[in-house]
Amino acid sequence: MHIPDGFLSTPVWATLDVAAAPAVLYLTRRAQHSLEENKVPLLGVLGAFVFAAQMINFPVGPGTTGHLVGGALLAFTLGPAPASIVMVAILAIQALVFQDGGVLALGANITNMAVMGVLAGYLPFHIWGATRWHKSALFAGGALSVLVSACLALAELLISGVRMPGSVLGVSLALFAVSAILEGAITLAVMQALERLHPKTARPLQPGRPPILAGVALLAVLLATVGVFFAAGGPDGIERLLNLHPASLRAGFWGQASAGVGGLLLIYGACLVIGRVARHRSL
């Protein structure tokens, strides 16, 4: 799932590099503050553990084995921001030393696996990890982390103009589902074994999250991963608007770009306001 250089079109890798840089800066700062003391050795050694864990094979079926990817496991034990930073470090070393993933495509790989994958994997644990469905949260976390990163990588390839026949797309989605279930099962099994070894491994959570937040969050993740494939068909709101006002097409690059950024900011602001209101209501 590590995208090498040359696979993505220039707008796609450049945008994701620009997007990943502030995300990594923000997560670095959060990771630094979320750990009680200087835990650089802890993050580094656990990163090495995730790397090395790929050498331990899990029996999947006759003659086939799988291995841990690790984003969700790190998020459960270290918290989301430190786990992201560890994954960023792993991806950077894989790109530089092992030629596993490109250097220009590093922003894309970081966005897919270290940012979105880790956060999506942490989501179920955050929402219902402290309830009696603890085990299902661990499983869903592992599965979601892999599913989200894989779907994002596929979407980036499609946006880059790689044409795929429908059958190939279907097969790859099926493969994603299988590897997601596998990662979920491995994550769950390792977490259970860890809880037997050290009962306090998983991060403590305060119970009692509002269930509506859980619903909204899961719906958002599902829309972002699966919804993409349904959205491609008909003209969306922006395209319909363009058909109504064809003059806006003549606005040139800067006009269109600022319109796009403005729209994004509007949506972001709306989400922020709704989030604040929902939080005050539920508390």
Binding site: F7, P59, I93, Q99, V162, A193
Partner: protein
């Protein structure tokens, strides 16, 4: 191939090895961007870049054939993508992707095998990347070999007890055994990290690694940056002039 080989190559003393890591990072980025955005006349441009990279490898004194083979790691991915796009009726795209990804990997290998990861990370820090992240990466790289050896020992021990995953029927028991092994590895890594941290504090660690030898961006580095960045760009202009 073992990644430690790259670190051994990085200990050379050719003119390329002596350049400041920042100079090589800038040149690498220019090279990669020139390659990634190239359109018309790509085969000729790629041939020129290959000659440039091989010249660099020869100058650096690293085994040319070994590096050329190692960069081929990306080719299986490119082959899969080529197959898929060929099925979709877009046969040239696979070749373009294979060329670009192979040359990009080769360029990264040339830089890493004349610099080494620790020096490269130090260069990135000097260029403004967050120090916390780079320290995590440093630790990760240092202890990767240690933890990987531990993992190898554990799986060898499991195999000696007759528990090789490959020869076993799928079953909950062997799956749980592998999970247990990973949990033990996790716990021992965690304990090791705490030991390391205590030892570092005892030796007076104050939040940053002391440098052995300052980095200096001298006149030769400036000249190298300009020439090495100019070469791919000039080559591309020349190729596009003749093909467009």
């Amino acid at each position: 191939m073992h990644p430690a080989v790259v670190e051994r190559w990085a200990r050379g003393s050719s003119p390329l090895h002596q350049r400041d890591p920042r100079a090589k990072i800038i040149a690498l980025l220019v090279f990669l961007i020139a390659l990634a955005t190239a359109g018309p006349g790509l085969p000729v441009f790629a041939g020129g870049l290959l000659v440039l990279l091989i010249a660099g490898l020869v100058c650096a004194g690293v085994p040319v054939w070994g590096v050329l083979v190692r960069a081929g790691i990306v080719l299986p991915f490119a082959a899969v993508l080529a197959g898929v796009t060929w099925l979709a009726g877009d046969p040239t795209r696979g070749a373009v992707v294979a060329l670009k990804s192979y040359l990009s990997a080769l360029a990264v290998l040339l830089v890493i095998s004349t610099t080494g990861l620790p020096a490269l990370l130090r260069g990135l820090e000097a260029m403004g990347a967050p120090r916390f992240l780079l320290q995590v990466a440093q630790f990760l790289y240092r202890y990767f070999f240690v933890i990987a050896e531990e993992a190898r020992q554990m799986s060898r021990a499991a195999a000696a007890r007759g528990a090789s995953a490959r020869h076993q029927k799928f079953g909950g028991q062997s799956f749980r055994a592998a999970a247990g092994a990973l949990a033990v590895l996790f716990a021992s890594s965690y304990a090791r990290a705490e030991d390391i941290h205590r030892a570092m504090l005892a030796r007076g660690f104050e939040g940053r690694f002391p440098l052995l030898g300052e980095m200096r961006f001298g006149r030769a580095d400036l000249l190298f940056t300009i020439l090495a960045s100019l070469a791919p760009v000039a080559l591309r202009f020349a190729v596009e002039r003749t093909f467009a």
